[in-house]
């Protein structure tokens, strides 16, 4: 026991502190309360992600030994696959729509109803309600609304005596419908973030600006928006991460079609990785998605902290 070459005092100190923690009754909670979370997390989150990195270098169907090492082949194939390009491009379009359509809409609504009155609360609940609906249910509702025989477009085309327009099956419009549905479903969520931030803006600042004769627009631009910039950054971050993971909504609406033009990264992963059990290929897509998320997270951190330190 004492034959180790480690310096004695350190070991003694370590043992002593463990003994002290035991005496204080601290060891038991550490060894009883932490393991469930750590074990579950390791088995179902960390291990699969590490595995994804490993599998992505093999060609494998998920059965038998993992032997067919192909190096970066999966990634090379991925980067050449036009449908993957399309799904990246779609994610990019979703990000742009979230930033330049959804967030402004959410901000406009937040500015209109952030004060605490009962009418405002009612509007807030209405705008936020789509957020808690299941994506699948939302997709089904909107696939009815956009159905060429039944929904909105059917009414419009019939009214003008035009040919029926199946926008969900039309390459020109299909992805626009997905953008519409996503804005519809999530703008209330961003609005709630903005409302919480706006309510924490100190009212004396706003009163001071008013007394100085600033117009409402100037107060919004020069007082309110700068003061809640952290919430805007956070909301943009959520919008980007959300856009990268869209899946459930696409399935009932277009199922990735027509001719694979409306895939998101995750639906691409699902169809070309999991459904066809291309474990290596699917893992490679997962690794790409992982890096996109990490880049977004670091970008957000730099933006949020960098600006914060400058102030």
């Amino acid at each position: 026991m004492s034959a180790s070459t480690k310096p004695h005092p350190v070991k003694k100190g370590c043992m002593a502190s463990i003994r002290r923690m035991h005496r204080d009754g601290k060891l038991a909670p550490i060894f009883i309360f932490l393991p469930p979370a750590l074990v579950l997390f390791t088995i179902f989150v960390i291990w699969p992600i590490l595995n994804a990195a490993n599998f992505s270098m093999y060609k494998w169907s998920g059965y038998g030994e993992l032997t067919n090492f192909v190096g970066a082949d999966n990634f090379r194939r991925l980067l050449r696959h036009s449908i993957f390009h399309q799904s990246l491009w779609n994610s990019w379009k979703l990000i742009l729509a979230s930033l330049f359509l959804q967030i402004p809409l959410a901000m406009a609504m937040a500015l209109l109803i952030y004060r605490k009155t009962s009418v405002n609360t009612a509007f807030r609940l209405i705008f936020f309600a789509p957020y808690i609906l299941a994506e699948v249910a939302t997709g089904l509702i909107w696939s009815f609304i956009f159905d060429g025989d039944y929904g909105v477009t059917a009414q419009i085309t019939r009214f003008f005596g035009m040919d029926q327009l199946y926008i969900l099956a039309d390459k020109r419009y299909a992805f626009l419908t997905i953008i519409t549905v996503i804005v519809w479903k999530y703008f209330g969520y961003h609005m709630m973030i903005f409302i919480a931030a706006l309510q924490s803006v100190p009212s004396d600042l706003l009163e001071a600006a008013e007394i100085d004769g600033a117009s409402p627009w100037r107060i919004i631009w020069h007082v309110k928006l700068p003061l809640i910039s952290h919430a805007i950054k956070l909301s943009a971050f959520f919008a980007i991460v959300g856009a990268l993971q869209v899946f459930d909504i696409i399935l009932p609406l277009t199922n990735g079609g027509p001719s694979n033009s409306t895939h998101s990264l995750v639906s691409y992963l699902y169809y070309f990785g999991l459904v066809q059990l291309n474990v290596g290929y699917g893992s490679a897509v997962g690794v790409c998605l992982f890096f996109l998320c990490v880049i977004t997270a670091f970008g957000y951190k730099r933006l949020a902290i960098g600006k914060g330190a400058g102030l």
Partner: protein, 278 residues
């Protein structure tokens, strides 16, 4: 005079903007609900108006179909178990992090918080293999355990910051009276934490109740389907019978909306707690 007129105009513009957006939010939901009362023919000619006659057949057919209740029951089992496990595992872990200083605490916390960085879609293929190799395919546990694992990171953050705000004197007093860390957790910390338990629980519930991708890859047996899987299968069966599909959708979103109205306080608290404080 002029000032009053502009303020009147702006109030009207505000009301118009709010009503327009509210209508755009409500109309699809209303059309869905009403659509369940219409025949297919009527749905085709007037999808957005009130039904000519309220036909309860389609709703009735679904409610009398045992499969619908099986789906809901399965979802309920999965969601409630996920909520229970999430609350238990993450509150215990957060308690240790908030209450006890020990070597490695910081790195263990950063390790668990990695879970907030990426969506579980990144690893669905290996996750599927993992669940298969453990032998939990087609088993509710195959959904419950990963679901819990992925919602823990956020839950731990919320719990930890709440536990830190509880008065320190309380623990000192209890400790002097011979109450240990574990006893204190169950006798004092948890009962004092009902608001945060409700917030985390509501979030975990909504997440699990609405989850589609995870059950999709784990559950194959129709008898095990959660309702999002069931509804998609239903859609495949009743391709053109939109009234049946709309009735089915209405019956599943109705409880969600009621649940939302009851718990919205906690949902909003979770959102703002999680976001504004970073």
């Amino acid at each position: 005079m002029n000032v009053r007129r502009t303020s009147l105009i702006s109030a009207l513009a505000r009301a118009a903007a709010l009503s327009l957006v509210a209508a755009l939010v409500i109309l699809p939901l209303l059309a869905t609900f009403l659509g369940g009362f219409k025949t297919v023919g009527e749905l085709r000619t007037s999808p957005f108006s009130l039904p000519v006659s309220w036909n309860f057949d389609f709703y009735g057919k679904i409610l009398n179909d045992g499969v619908f209740w099986t789906f809901l029951g399965n979802s309920l089992v999965v969601s409630l178990s996920s909520v229970f496990l999430t609350l238990l595992c993450s509150s215990m872990a957060a308690y240790v992090f908030a209450q006890i200083k020990f070597f490695g605490s910081g790195s263990l916390q950063s390790y668990l918080l990695l879970g907030m960085m990426f969506p579980f879609a990144t690893a669905i293929v290996p996750l599927f293999l993992q669940v298969r190799d453990i032998g939990l395919l087609d088993n509710p546990l195959g959904v419950i355990l990963p679901q819990t694992a992925f919602s823990m990171a956020f839950a731990i953050v919320l719990f930890r910051s709440f536990f830190r705000q509880l008065p320190k004197e309380l623990f000192e007093a209890a400790y002097v009276d011979g109450c240990g860390y574990i006893g204190f957790f169950f006798r004092f910390t948890l009962p004092l934490s009902t608001p945060i338990l409700a917030t985390v629980g509501t979030f975990a519930f909504v997440q699990s109740w609405n989850n589609y991708l995870l059950p999709l890859i784990i559950l194959n047996d129709r008898a095990r389907y959660t309702w999002p899987l069931g509804i998609m299968q239903f859609r495949g069966e009743f391709l053109v019978e939109w009234n049946m599909i709309l009735a089915f959708v209405s019956l599943t979103i109705a409880p969600a909306l009621v649940f939302f109205l009851i718990t919205q306080k906690y949902i909003v608290a979770g959102l703002t707690r999680g976001s504004v404080k970073g």
